[in-house]
Symmetry: C2
């Protein structure tokens, strides 16, 4: 599937079938993650695949009770390692959120190619997710997503027109 | 071009031809940006296309003297608008770096499809870039990239093995 087709077809999916994910599809998705660029190629990330049903249910609760997440056979938690990342993006910002986001969006787009749904989950209690998944103090959780076959086909959501988001030579 | 093929083929390109970019290619690249998901669909971004040669040269200097950037016919500066973004990712983090990164990586991947090179530029003096491009105080610069036809074919860089970056049920 073409890049732009995948981008156009992607939706935030909030209902899932319990159908298992083929290992080959998962392998391609994780390869898309692994090959992501990162500042100074430091790859300061860890992706946790949560399959245990009881744990998935508890993670969904820690995501502000977004219980639909546990319908999917896998929940993925994307973690960043600030101490391993580039500390000076724009001379002041740690690159870990940028690095992990690139890898996460590769996951989302390759999932789309595989016919699998995802949903960027940014609403979660970070300390609760960390406790459930044994994430060490020095690591951060950027976002989570369910991964599974969609049980809904949401319509596209609106986007701003180009003229509002692109400008020439000056802001 | 397939998503995974684009991911596998992408490189950080640091030498460019002056060849202009076809308008249709640029339109598809900007559509990939425009369609990016963002927290609560707030789309808190502005992408500045810098074509003016003298301005490109000055921007490259503000990027810690990465003068190769100005070889490309366009430099793109990706800005975020924290006040328009979701303020509570993981209950504590503003989503703007995540939102802008997703849109930026869409740009990178669609550029690859079009045969165009990019290079995530995270080393820059943010205040200098803001002054050159008239970026208002409340906006931020996440990253920049040159955009143009590559004049080099860099080899792939190494990546960590999957076992180091993926784990099951726990970190």
């Amino acid at each position: 599937m073409d890049v732009l087709d995948a981008i156009r077809a992607r939706r935030s999916v909030r209902r899932y079938k319990p159908t298992p994910i083929p290992e080959e599809a998962l392998a391609r998705i994780l390869d898309a993650v692994r090959l992501a660029p990162s500042a100074k190629n430091l790859q300061p990330w860890r992706f946790i695949l949560v399959r245990d049903p009881a744990l998935r249910a508890r993670v969904a609760v820690a995501c502000v009770n977004q219980t639909f997440m546990a319908e999917a056979p896998v929940i993925i938690a994307a973690c960043g390692l600030p101490e391993q990342a580039y500390g000076r993006m724009g001379r002041c910002m740690n690159s870990w959120p940028v690095d992990v986001t690139i890898a996460f969006e590769h996951l989302v787009l390759q999932a789309q190619v595989e016919g699998l749904g995802t949903c960027w989950i940014g609403a979660f209690y970070e300390e609760e997710v960390k406790a459930l998944l044994g994430v060490p103090a020095e690591a951060r959780v950027l976002a989570l997503t369910p991964l599974g076959y969609p049980a809904e086909s949401p319509a596209a959501r609106p986007r701003k027109p180009l003229a509002e988001i692109v400008s020439k030579d000056r802001f």
